[in-house]
Amino acid sequence: MINTHPYIPNASSVTKEMLRVVGVRGLDDLFVDIPSFPFEIDELLPEPIGESGVKRIVEETLSKNKVYGTKCFAGGGPWFHFIPSAVRHIISRGEFLTSYTPYQAEVSQGILQAFFEFQSLICELYDMEVANASMYDLSTAVAESALLCARVTGRKKIIIPACLPWERKSVIANYTEPQGVLIEEAPYSKENGGVDLERLKEVIDDDVAGVYVENPSFLGMIDNGVKGIVEISHDSGALAVVGCDPLSLGVLKPPGELGADVAVGNGQPLGIAPAMGGNTLGIMACREDPGIVRQMPGRIVGMTKTADGRRRGYVLALSTREQHIRREKATSNICTNQALLAVAATIYLSMMGRTGLASISRKIIANTEYAKDRMRMDELIEPIFQGINFRDFAMTIKGADDVDGKIREKGMVGGRNLSEDFPEMKDGRLFAVTEVHTKKEIDELTSSIHEALGGA
């Protein structure tokens, strides 16, 4: 039995005195009310391992990973975007890292202001008035938006683009199905991959609470039809939920300008590392419509004043929407969210600023279009859709499975296999290039694909 540990200060000479105050003889006496079921925990050593040993063990395990980093060109997210060093340094500061949800506003102004700035930056980016201080990820943001639409309109059907990955559809269904909210898919145009407006008009009816559309789409297509989709939705009394990549918004029209009622996004590109898909940040914002705002899920920080009216301050606002007050009638069950990553995004957006963000958007589009052009190979490699891409682009590659392997031999990871999500896209691969890729790196990718196909 051990009696000291670096993380447990009172396991020391003070234990005895404290036991005396409590009036028991040993720690075990504090657990006499627990029924005893003997058990063993085989997967752990009985004794603690010291810091140096734990480091070695975990590093040994992790060393079985191969790090491709920016040599991984798989599309569909997460992505390898540039992360300013200052982001990590700031979010590692103990005052942010080791803080809890700021229930005591007076000693938590720092992170409250950071959240307020996050909300504000998201609002500017998406052209909305209200944003929450994070959802788990894009999928749950879409799912919660669907529920919001249903609550606001009292209707029970949501239209989503057919062109979403299976995971996202599955998450949405897990949130909507228990509420009796039905999901219908809007077919995509075989030509440009966007939602087919005509067919949308056919599908939509009085039961539709909301229409969800992404721009750029999951397959990276910039969709000129979003405004039309929003109009069709509004015409039939549904809300429009628009999903946008935040980095695309340095150049593309924001959801607000397109008429969206709710905007969602995947915040990972904003200064957050891919980490096996484990660092997610769901963005959710809406118009300043009291009916919608009241139905928002998640934490929202508001600006206020000190009781004496003299100074500005920040507090958690509108908590009557939330589970800790409203319980089963809450707008959502979300409690712990992705706060620190929202702070990372805040630092990222502050540092990028107006010109930085616009440059990054432009750079990504240039790199993507360049990569797509370079990758083409008559009869062997073709874009699946016609149009302009942002970061992600879908290609049909003859004998794609073989090509995947050959690229891997060159130390790269090729495109995401689309045939799993979209059987009609046999040999389809979704690639992504970002602003971190040099021309040379893009050329290396494309030439190794060409080589694999026996080309130049």
């Binding site: 993380y7 009172n10 105050v21 720092g110 992170i111 749950t140 998450v171 484990g278 004043k305």
Partner: protein, 496 residues
């Protein structure tokens, strides 16, 4: 003496000047951007973007200053009950931010991700073993999402048996996420009362169960910090009625290493890795809420699951009964790395020591505080586990000083307040959880502080109500922030 740093720091939008940049994107060997400038049609081009224009110097300073105006475990006690604010070992931060973690892509081949898979596999096995469950999914993003996952499993379990049960029973002391999650999974919530001695009212429970009962959600120790010693009996009642038992692992700290939900009759359990397993809260997240189930329910877990075959690890997607996905990809991987490192750092003995000292800290505090005028420890004398709920109802009645006022007065001494007004069943509740990471010296400071506040409440209540003074701002107008007329939820709403 304590004084929190104060900088009158403007919003980032109010800093900067035209032409300043925080980052340069210049690089060698670039694709010529100009060539693609026309690619986006005018109708899709954005015209204005109102982001700040700040230099890197300003950004770094801004957030450094903000951070100093924020409390963290790194500065002192953070005894928020039900939140288990432990020490966050820096080793775990270093490991979780290694390239082999951060630079991994979920679409790499499993061959090139064996390290990640092995770590997830080992963590999954350890969690199963610690909780007495048979299999865990690591996917849920937090405790609440774990609850939803669990409820969806309960739902699917019954559906599959053709049994459309639609009620979940939840004690009145439960955390708000429990009823909220149950409701999101389509269930009606049936509330059972806590009896005067702090346990679930077993008689009422017996009346509440029926053939509509899909399951019961509870945490044990409960939110009063009391171990429900009739846990097995409760499980029997629910099981006999055909329901499943869901364990909210937010309070696992109270028993970890000493008792296992799986042995106490629970069928499903989530664990908040950001509580008992010491991963940082980061101002509210990210966390992770893995969900474990007993064997019969394994098939319902989200896909994919990590499995081991002949020394290799792989993802199994082929689980036909699975509820599917609750989140894209595999879970909060960097959080999982931290939790795994923590478990190695503790070992079984360390976990036992952890719950032992956490419980000792609570009872030491409870003993000391119960003698202070105006404070009481409601719901009987049972030994508390990792947390204790104090009532300031007497002080409130006698002096007008509320739990809210007391929390603010604590802040002034450099002591973070406990959770207040939760659980709802205690009036003027102050819910303290010191965790295994807190020092006796600091617990004593709380006792002294509460003595002092009590005394001042009885002599100078308005003085207490005027606190805090030493924090970076004084008491804030919380109503203003949510009132439709004064509500400012973004810079845009503020500046319009």
């Amino acid at each position: 003496m304590y004084r929190q740093a104060l900088f009158e720091e403007p919003l980032i939008f109010e800093l900067g000047k035209a032409g300043r940049v925080g980052i340069l994107l210049n690089d060698e060997n670039q694709v010529p951007i100009e060539q693609y400038e026309g690619a986006i049609s005018k109708s899709m081009r954005r015209e204005k973007l109102n982001l700040p224009e700040v230099s890197q110097v300003e950004v770094t300073r801004h957030f450094t200053k903000l951070s100093q105006m924020n409390w963290g475990v790194d500065l002192g006690p953070y005894p928020l009950g039900s939140c288990t604010m432990k020490y966050n070992p820096r080793l775990n931060e270093d490991l979780a931010t290694r390239e082999q973690v951060e630079q991994m892509h979920p679409r790499q081949s499993v061959e090139s991700s064996q390290g990640s898979l092995e770590l997830m596999f080992r963590l999954e096995r350890a969690l199963s073993s610690i909780t007495g469950m048979d299999e865990f999914t690591l996917q849920p993003a937090a405790g609440a999402q774990g609850e939803l996952t669990g409820c969806l499993i309960i739902r699917k379990y019954h559906r599959k048996r053709g049994d459309h049960r639609d009620e979940i029973i939840i004690p009145d002391s439960a955390h708000g996420t429990n009823p909220a999650s149950a409701a999101m999974a389509g269930f009606k919530v049936v509330v059972v009362r806590t009896s005067e001695d702090g346990y679930i009212d077993l008689d009422m429970l017996k009346c509440a169960v029926s053939n509509k009962t899909a399951g019961l959600m509870m945490t044990n120790p409960n939110t009063l910090g009391i171990f429900e010693n009739k846990a097995c009996e409760i499980a029997e009642v629910v099981h006999r009625a055909g329901g499943l038992m869901y364990y909210d692992g937010a309070n696992l700290q109270g028993i970890v290493g000493r008792a296992r939900p799986g042995d106490l009759g629970f069928d499903i359990a989530h664990i908040n890795l950001h509580k008992t397993f010491s991963t940082p809260h980061g101002g509210g997240g990210p966390g992770a809420g893995p969900v474990g189930v007993k064997e019969g329910l394994s098939g319902f877990l989200p896909v994919p699951m990590v499995e081991q075959k002949e020394g290799k690890y792989e993802f199994n997607w082929d689980r036909p009964d699975s509820i599917g996905k609750i989140r894209e990809d595999y879970g909060s991987f960097p959080i999982l790395v931290r939790a795994y490192a923590y478990l190695l750092s503790m070992g079984v003995e360390g976990l036992k020591l952890s719950s032992g000292i956490a419980v000792l800290n609570t009872n030491y505090f409870a003993r000391k505080v119960s003698g202070i005028r105006g404070f009481s420890v409601p719901f009987g004398n049972a030994i508390r586990k990792h947390e204790v709920v104090i009532s300031a109802a007497d002080i409130m009645r006698e002096t007008g000083v509320s739990a809210y006022d007391i929390s603010k007065a604590l802040l002034d001494k450099g002591l973070h307040a406990p959770t207040i007004y939760f659980p709802l069943i205690v009036k003027e509740a102050l819910m303290f959880e010191f965790t295994d990471a807190e020092l006796k010296e600091n617990i004593d400071l709380y006792v002294e502080a509460l003595e002092d506040i009590s005394q001042r409440a009885y002599t100078d209540p308005s003085g207490v109500k005027a606190q805090p003074k030493n924090t970076s701002v004084g008491r804030l107008d919380e109503v203003r922030a949510s009132h439709p007329r004064t509500m400012r939820l973004s810079y845009r709403m503020h500046s319009h």
